[in-house]
């Protein structure tokens, strides 16, 4: 079975700046795939080349087994994208604009009209069909942007920072929406600076830095098996209060990090699996009278991201 997206040795420069340098990527079909990387890592350039906005200097892109011709759009109906910062025509009805996009994808006018209504229903905004784009809030604009990407149900949908600039409530709604839309048939590729979001939403992740792929793996593999449990405490602990924790036989190190205001406890999962280990540690903290706010078992994607992008 062809992967939804295959990128081989892709390079793109802006003058002397190399935005992509021999980038490789394979995205399996039927999943939500995350792309993360620091600013300037090349995420948006990668999406721009895949979507035909920018011609690549060299390399190859395959979308559902079809090769992308240099400087051409993707094969019709194979891919769509929510471009970062793209705006709709302010003075026009959104229904008209969505119908236009549908027709450009090769749909008949009648089918394009029904698709416009369908995708607005999906994102929960059927009422904006007759509204002008200039009347939308930022969150609504994002939702309609996502809606246009699903016109014609393309097999690959790229969402470049779909929750950027949204308040936490709206961002959560968008994530819930994406989970609902992606029912296992299509492939959704999401980039985000919010690593917790990617960890929460995606099945697999690619970490990019300096225009290259640093690591690609499932979220579970990237985060790794838990050897550390991190506590966010209600106050700064004194040394004596940490003694019950240190006394646990499977605990190897207890470290209070004032900068992060977190208590990191390393342990041996061979001696005690992560679940029971967390339970025992919580018991020790309660015994010491230390209030805790949050517990995180294992490293977060953010920790891994910082490690991967710092080392390489």
């Amino acid at each position: 079975m062809n992967p939804a997206l295959r990128v081989r040795n892709l390079s793109k420069s802006y003058g002397s700046i190399k935005a992509l340098e021999g980038m490789d990527l394979d995205v399996r079909a039927g999943q939500i795939f995350g792309v993360v990387g620091p600013n300037g890592a090349g995420k948006t350039t990668l999406f721009s080349v895949i979507s035909g906005f920018l011609p690549a200097d060299s390399g190859e892109v395959e979308i559902t087994g079809q090769t992308l011709r240099r400087g051409s759009p993707p094969p019709r109906g194979s891919l769509s994208i929510l471009p970062q910062d793209a705006l709709f025509v302010a003075e026009l009805n959104l229904g008209l604009q969505l119908r236009h996009y549908g027709e450009l994808q090769g749909l008949s006018p009648a089918k394009a009209a029904s698709e416009a209504k369908r995708v607005l229903d999906i994102v929960g905004l059927p009422e904006v069909h007759e509204r002008k784009a200039k009347s939308l809030s930022h969150g609504m604009h994002k939702r309609v942007g996502i809606a246009q990407a699903f016109i014609g149900s393309p097999p690959v949908v790229i969402l470049d920072e779909p929750t950027a600039g949204l308040d936490p409530h709206a961002a959560r709604e968008i994530r819930a929406l994406l989970r609902e839309i992606q029912t296992g048939k299509g492939t959704v590729i999401v980039s985000s600076h919010n690593l917790a979001e990617v960890e929460d939403l995606c099945h697999e992740v690619a970490i990019m830095a300096h225009g290259k792929l640093v690591r690609q793996d499932s979220i579970a593999s990237v985060v790794g098996s838990a050897t550390v449990i991190v506590f966010r405490l209600g106050r700064v602990p004194v040394a004596a209060e940490l003694e019950p924790l240190r006394a646990l036989p499977f605990v190897s190190e207890v470290l209070w990090s004032p900068g992060e205001e977190r208590l990191r406890v390393d342990f041996d999962p061979e001696q005690q699996p992560p679940g029971p280990a967390a339970r025992d540690m919580l018991g020790a903290l309660i015994e010491a009278g230390l209030p805790f706010v949050e517990v995180q078992v294992g490293k977060s994607l953010e920790d891994r991201f910082l490690e991967e992008t710092a080392v390489k």
Binding site: G52, F53, P74
Partner: protein, 281 residues
């Protein structure tokens, strides 16, 4: 290039332009033009009917007026006035005189706002750049054609009701010729403004740069002609030159201007297309 995409984009462009601010401004200007033009032309028609079109002194006066506007030879103008309804000949001259301004106001923003707001990115993964560019140009041309048509219909109806200046079907056919000529004459402007739009990528700058360009070309041509008369040809870099030749009936009289405008359209169109295809969008 996909002809269906060109058609789909042209239709969308027409809708976009018709709801845009510049179209509203142009609409107000056109209403003003229609109202003022219709009134003056009707007055003119009344006066003509009083003195009779065959009267030498009256025709001499009209010929002089058209000559000063168009720069056409008096003998050619006299011929036009003999062969066609004189009021419509004046209308033809007025339409051609205002065409550069009308084109500039109506179609300066072909791809510029789409580039500026990145709306073009909603199109780029759905169609190729050539289809997008040509679709937008076709939409712009259709808009101009509609605007000219609307002006001619309004003025034509007014003249028909107010006087017999149309002279029946002869006048209606001549109005059709004015519309077709003006629409075709819009082509080099659509190409030039498309080029500016793709070059600049900002709507207001595109408008300003085109004005500046026209001014620079005319000024430079005037100044350099003082050095050498042949350098006056620089004015051909802006397609307003010799446009009144298009009023003439003889194929030989029109051929040179038509060829120049065709070449201008092709060159400006090709440059604009090349820029749109190669620029980061």
């Amino acid at each position: 290039m996909n002809p269906r995409d060109v058609w789909v984009i042209a239709r969308f462009e027409l809708a976009r332009h018709l709801r845009s601010r510049h179209a509203i401004v142009a609409g107000i200007l056109l209403i003003g033009f229609c109202a003022f033009g219709s009134y003056r032309l009707a007055e003119f028609a009344d006066r003509l009917s009083e003195v009779g079109t065959k009267l030498g002194p009256a025709l001499g006066f009209i010929t002089g007026a058209i000559e000063s506007t168009t720069g056409l030879p008096a003998t050619d103008i006299a011929g036009l006035l003999e062969d066609h309804p004189p009021v419509l000949v004046v209308l033809f001259a007025l339409v051609l005189a205002f065409m550069p301004v009308l084109c500039l106001i109506l179609v300066y923003d072909q791809t510029a706002t789409d580039i500026e707001t990145r709306h073009v990115r909603f199109l780029l993964f759905r169609s190729d750049r050539v289809s997008i560019y040509l679709g937008k140009a076709l939409g712009a041309l259709a808009l101009l054609s509609l605007a000219i048509g609307a002006v001619l219909v309004v003025v034509g109806v007014f003249l028909a009701v107010r006087s017999n200046a149309l002279e029946g079907m002869t006048g209606v056919v001549y109005l059709g010729r004015i519309w077709l000529t003006a629409t075709l004459y819009a082509l080099p402007f659509v190409a030039l403004l498309g080029l500016m739009s793709a070059l600049v990528g900002r709507a207001r700058r595109s408008f300003g740069f085109t004005l500046l360009y026209a001014f620079a070309v005319m000024t430079l041509a005037g100044l350099l002609s003082l050095v050498h008369e042949d350098l006056r040809s620089i004015r051909y870099l802006f397609p307003s030159v010799d446009r009144f030749d298009l009023m003439l009936d003889g194929f030989r009289d029109v051929r040179g201007t038509a060829l120049y405008l065709s070449v201008y359209t092709l060159v400006a169109g090709a440059l604009g297309l090349w820029r749109f295809r190669t620029r980061d969008l």
